[in-house]
């Protein structure tokens, strides 16, 4: 594949406007609709059952209503034969009784009882703990990476990388918010993995820019960046392609439980690649990066000039 010569940096405004719009839409959605938090963070009970035939959701809802579980949500999970029942936290009823009661309710007067696939119960304290842990994980990894990049590269690069990655996370969360998809622990893990991947990508480009800053003279910063991005283009696209291949396999064949997980990564890897090419370098540029920033400062001898 011959090295391309696309003017990424010159045309950065198109990309920035596009990304700006997407991010804006995501933020609006997150602020108004918010994220549909799973029971891992809110606490509550979740019961998944399987039937031999497609389940009659309305009949189930009716049964649960009459037994006093009015606020239970009943949905299909993956296929028409699998049903997911969700209950919010209830005062004073231990999960031990709750899930057994619900199961008894839906299995009443039924020829073939549903088979229990899984039950998850998260108490309020644990829900808060998990939410806090998740937030801290997000915070610490961001901080650690910020420090690392600032140490390996220069602070303008560091900020540029953070902006690019932040953009990916916001847009992916926005997708979840707009589609109303559930945000649970595994999704959070996927978001963290996504941060790692997106930064990985961005670093490869920055690495090349740094190398070229040192190697190429008498060329404008913009030009150097353009060259660097073009040269690493084939590698960036190739890597993303292979990762996307496995993610597609995971998305279609992995089953419903990690469906949202693979969706985050699919979406995120795609955008991670996009941001590494179109956002990361322009961001650093706009922060005023130039080859001078990478040069080792020459010692100023004026302070010893007066000494004999």
């Amino acid at each position: 594949m011959k090295t391309t010569t696309i003017n990424f940096i010159g045309n950065r405004h198109i990309a920035l406007i596009f990304s700006g719009l997407l991010s804006f839409a995501s933020i609006i959605s997150l602020a108004t609709q918010g994220l549909h938090m799973g029971i891992d963070f809110t606490g509550g009970t979740l019961i998944e059952v399987g039937y031999q035939q497609p389940a009659d959701l309305n009949a189930l809802r009716l049964k649960l209503d009459t037994e006093g579980f009015e606020d239970a949500t009943v949905q299909n999970f993956g296929t028409a034969k699998d049903v997911l029942i969700r209950l919010k936290l209830q005062d004073g009823v231990s999960s031990a009784d709750l899930s057994t009661k619900v199961l008894d309710t839906i299995n009443k007067d039924v020829a073939q009882p549903a088979s229990l696939r899984r039950v998850e119960f998260v108490g309020p304290q644990v829900g808060d703990d998990l939410a806090e842990d998740g937030f801290l994980a997000l915070l610490y990894s961001s901080l650690a990476i910020l420090v690392y990049i600032a140490w390996r590269f220069e602070w303008k690069f560091s900020l540029g990388a953070i902006i690019a990655t932040f953009h990916d996370v916001i847009v992916t969360l926005g997708l979840f918010s707009i589609l109303g998809l559930e945000f649970d622990l595994t999704v959070l893990a996927a978001v963290l993995a996504l941060i790692g991947y997106s930064l990985n990508d961005t670093i490869v480009v920055y690495d090349r820019i740094r190398e070229n800053f040192r190697a190429l003279r008498d060329i404008s910063t913009e030009e150097i960046m353009n060259i660097s991005v073009n040269v690493t283009l084939s590698r960036t696209i190739m890597t993303s392609l292979t990762v996307l291949l496995v993610l597609v396999s995971l998305f279609f064949l992995g089953g419903q439980t990690i469906h949202n997980f693979s969706l985050v990564l699919l979406f995120g890897v795609f955008f991670g690649t996009y941001s590494s090419i179109f956002i990361a370098s322009p961001a650093a540029l706009m922060l005023g990066i130039s080859p001078a920033d990478l040069m080792i400062p020459v010692k100023d001898n004026s302070d010893i000039a007066h000494l004999p």
Partner: protein, 614 residues
């Protein structure tokens, strides 16, 4: 010489490869659903084993193998339905003194087992089973300790003949109001000698002394409350008959319990979730029970109800609490009546000894206390609180003076004796325990997840291999070899560490497949570039690896940082994902840089090459 690895380097790489293959092998051997039968204390006899074997054979259930070793029976069956059926059958047959456990027995050949090779440890979402997080109410434990101090103090004061007006709990303190202020010095001396765990405050009122459990003592109580619960849980879990249970302390007051393979989750929850404790009290034979029933209980006694509903008056003082019972067994006494023999620890023994010296012929009751969560409507609002349910489960006459070991009679049947002794042996919990998190996965879903995980892995792998071979040709094939090598290493390390493999963990391995290609791509693209710049093939290879190295290090490091943070803050399945990610990243760095280099050096090293097939 460019592009050449020394002999020892080549050998060590190959060695790593071979070892990885060997330690991954156990994963190819499946597990047999099996049933394990053992006696709680003794070993089974050959006769019993043969009896069990014929029982199974009589049902017509296909039996894979039957093993009688170390006094235990292991019956391997062909599927989990049979396993459940046989387990239930044997449980009914063998009775309460035998443990019938469900097990997944590995079929790894013995030569592999000899070198310590095992299959990966599957998480609950792949194996099916129950996971509980229990929270110990350590504040209640401290309150219980206060009650005990209260009672012990009264006893001690009476023995020392220090007259008191009142000893009671008030506002977090135990307040002692003396009759005579001159006794204060004596009281303080007594406290300093026998009640070191209490800190003393002397208020303005000269005849009062206020006591509080010290910080250090309080900490000890909380710690041992959790430890006590853990021991009790272990015993209870053993009674459930689960092989390979996991019971771990999490943080200051939480306990995690994992029971893989458990299908009957409601029974598990009953046994674990019910919080219960025991107390021994003297029966009040002096006063009239009816007086208490009508609402005027005599001072010093409390009204209780027996199992059959009969009211009974018990002394307010607690003699023995459940945590002082060390052992119990059901048997019959000299007259053939069902009884339970009980052993106490040192403190319990001394208390019991003192009591029985003065109470021969008097009846003593065992109170069974359960804590249930109840919600009540108070002023229109839902208020949640714990309700204490107390029942007298046995009343027995004290036959003689005893301290450490004694028998309790007055039981209806051998069955009742067995149940009581089981309860006592499994231990009463020192402090109430609440289930705060539960995750149960049914066995069908577990197998489902494994199948889906395997399928997406194979398809993903195949796609990448195909793509790499087509695009990078010979170098692509080399990358594929490194990829396979990578997966084998990850599996081997997971097996050796016995780290838990979860469904997200499998996703992590799949992700590693995609990402490990990255390092190779970086190198190959660099080599291509060098060639395009007009360098010779040999030097292109050399500088390709050289220049790409720093980039690979940087990019993998950031991924590693994220994975480590995930590991630190994650729980359960998320932790499993972090583990495979970390191992995968490290391993891919190794195979991409060192592994592929070795192969390339073999093919192209030290030879005159015109063109690279890349």
């Amino acid at each position: 010489m460019q592009n050449h690895y020394s002999l020892w380097k080549n050998i060590s790489i190959i060695l790593v490869f071979l070892i990885s293959i060997i330690y991954s092998l156990p994963n190819l051997y499946g597990d047999d659903p099996s049933v394990q039968v053992s006696h709680i204390v003794n070993k089974l006899t050959q006769a019993q084993a043969s009896d069990i074997e014929s029982t199974i054979k009589n049902t017509g259930t296909p039996l894979k193998t039957f093993q009688f070793k170390d006094g235990r029976v292991l019956a391997r069956l062909t599927n989990t339905d049979d396993q459940m059926k046989i387990a239930d059958l044997l449980r009914d047959k063998m009775g309460n003194n035998y443990t019938v456990a469900l097990n997944l027995a590995p079929t790894t050949p013995s030569w592999l087992q000899a070198i310590g090779a095992q299959a990966m440890y599957l998480g609950l979402d792949l194996r099916g089973g129950v996971h509980f997080l229990l929270e110990v109410d350590i504040d209640a434990a401290v309150k219980q300790a206060e009650e005990r101090y209260n009672d012990d103090l009264r006893l001690a004061l009476r023995e020392a003949k220090i007259h008191y007006q009142n000893v009671s709990k008030d506002n977090g303190f135990i307040k002692v109001i003396l009759k005579d202020t001159n006794d204060k010095a004596e009281l303080l001396a007594l406290l300093g000698k026998d009640f070191r765990g209490l800190t003393v405050t002397e208020p303005e009122a000269a005849e009062q002394v206020w006591l509080k459990i010290s910080e250090a003592d309080s900490r000890e109580i909380k710690k041992s409350a959790v430890a006590q619960n853990m021991t009790t849980l272990r015993n209870r879990v053993n009674e459930l008959g689960v092989a390979e249970p996991v019971i771990q302390q999490q943080g200051v007051n939480r306990i995690m319990v994992q029971l893989p393979g458990v299908q009957d989750t409601s029974r598990a929850k009953e046994i674990l979730g019910t919080t219960a404790t025991l107390e021994y009290r003297l029966v009040d034979t002096e006063h009239d029970v009816q007086q208490a029933v009508s609402g005027h209980p005599p001072i010093g006694s409390r009204l209780y109800y027996e199992k059959n509903g009969n009211p009974i008056l018990l002394d307010k003082r607690i003699i023995i609490t459940g945590d002082q019972i060390v052992d119990s067994a059901s048997s019959s006494d000299d007259d053939g009546r069902p009884s339970v023999s009980i052993s106490l620890n040192g403190i319990g023994a001394s208390k019991m000894g003192k009591l029985t010296q003065v109470s021969i012929g008097k009846p003593m009751a065992v109170v069974f206390i359960e804590y249930k969560n109840e919600t009540r409507i108070v002023n229109g609002e839902k208020v949640r609180h714990k309700e204490k349910v107390e029942k007298v489960i046995s009343v027995a006459t004290i036959q003689g003076v005893f301290s450490k070991r004694f028998q309790t009679t007055g039981l209806d049947s051998p069955q009742e004796a067995r149940n009581l002794s089981l309860l006592l042996r499994a231990g009463a919990l020192a402090a109430p325990v609440d289930i705060v998190e539960e995750r149960t996965v049914g066995p069908s879903l577990g197998q489902d997840n494994i199948d889906k995980g395997m399928m997406s892995f194979l398809v993903g792998f195949a796609l990448v291999v195909f793509f790499m071979a087509v695009y990078y040709k010979v170098f692509g094939l080399i990358a594929n070899a490194a990829l396979a090598f990578n997966v084998v290493i990850v599996v081997a390390i997971l097996s050796m560490l016995q780290a838990t493999l979860t469904l997200p963990g499998i996703a992590g391995i799949i992700l590693t497949v995609g990402m490990s290609v990255d390092a190779n791509v970086l190198i190959f693209e660099r080599i291509k570039e060098e060639i395009n710049n007009g360098n010779t093939p040999q030097s292109s290879i050399f500088s390709g690896y050289d220049k790409a190295f720093a980039t690979i290090l940087d990019s993998h490091f950031t991924n590693l940082v994220v994975a480590v943070v995930l590991f630190a803050f994650g729980t359960g399945s998320v932790k499993g994902f972090a583990v495979t990610l970390i191992i995968g990243i490290l391993s891919s760095m190794f195979t991409a840089i060192t592994g592929t280099r070795m192969i390339i050096n073999w093919i192209y090293g030290n030879k005159h090459v015109e063109k690279l097939s890349i």
